[in-house]
């Protein structure tokens, strides 16, 4: 198994955290893992993305030129990363913010109205977890349980109190696959 995922969205949509959480879960399940952010706070604003790789073997490069999946939280991210997805790969898109349709027919598309679902749960900030819930359910690379257990390690001290909310969002995401 070798799964390469690119996650992308606006700054503030919790892209990095979502990636770290998945990576942590992979590590917990004794897989080889890597997490690589687009970096450069030297430039403010704009979009953020990270690449997560989970594999049975030593990971050669933490970057992915042909990801198996992408999780895109806004339109610029879809535009940027859709062309890179492997043929046969999966596109998880935040349909709350992306009205457009995917222009490729060799990929599977999963639409998650993440912002709406998050608002439903009561916190617009956890749209990322809704997306991740969907990914975990669909892809079956790490166990949903492990992801939930990893929350504690990945959330900052300040956000530990939000674990339950995050779990709820992950659960919600399952519905979209």
């Amino acid at each position: 198994m070798n799964e390469e995922i690119i996650m992308a969205g606006f700054g503030g949509q919790g892209i990095m955290l979502m990636g770290k959480l998945l990576t942590y879960a992979g590590m917990k399940e004794d897989k080889e893992v890597s997490w690589m952010p687009s970096y450069g706070p030297e430039m403010r604003g704009g979009t953020a993305n990270c690449t997560v790789i989970i594999s049975d073997k030593r990971i050669p490069s933490p970057m992915s030129s042909k990801p198996d999946s992408i999780i895109v939280m806004n339109l610029p991210s879809l535009d940027k990363f859709l062309p890179k997805v492997k043929s046969g790969g999966t596109v998880f898109m935040n349909s709350s913010l992306i009205a457009e349709e995917v222009t490729r027919d060799d990929v599977k598309v999963i639409k998650v109205p993440a912002n709406e679902m998050a608002n439903e749960i009561g916190n617009s900030k956890i749209a990322n977890m809704v997306m991740l819930g969907s990914f975990v359910e669909e892809k079956n690379i790490v166990k949903p349980e492990t992801v939930k257990e990893s929350l504690e390690k990945v959330l900052s001290a300040r956000n530990q109190k939000l674990i339950d909310l995050n779990v709820k969002a992950l659960e919600k995401g399952k519905e979209f696959k």
Binding site: F10, G45, L97
Partner: protein, 72 residues
């Protein structure tokens, strides 16, 4: 210029910082529910007629979003 409006917001440039909101002496600036293409809830003035063209908002705006016009 033959503008109808006395205060014009360039929505696409707005970053939704809300700094213009409290400086308006007549309190007519509000944030849109919609977002622009950068993902920001932009500022807007619905009641143009209440605007006194004081340019406080434009003075405060960090992103040169706002133009203000006055009857001559």
């Amino acid at each position: 210029m033959e503008k109808e409006k006395s205060v014009v917001f360039n929505e696409e440039r707005c970053k939704g910082c809300e700094l213009c909101v409290p400086v308006c002496p007549v309190n007519i600036i509000s944030m849109a529910d919609d977002i622009n293409s950068h993902g920001y809830h932009y500022a807007q003035v619905k009641e143009q007629d209440k605007c006194i063209s004081c340019a406080m908002c434009a003075t405060m705006c960090p992103d040169v979003v706002i133009s203000v016009y006055k009857e001559e």
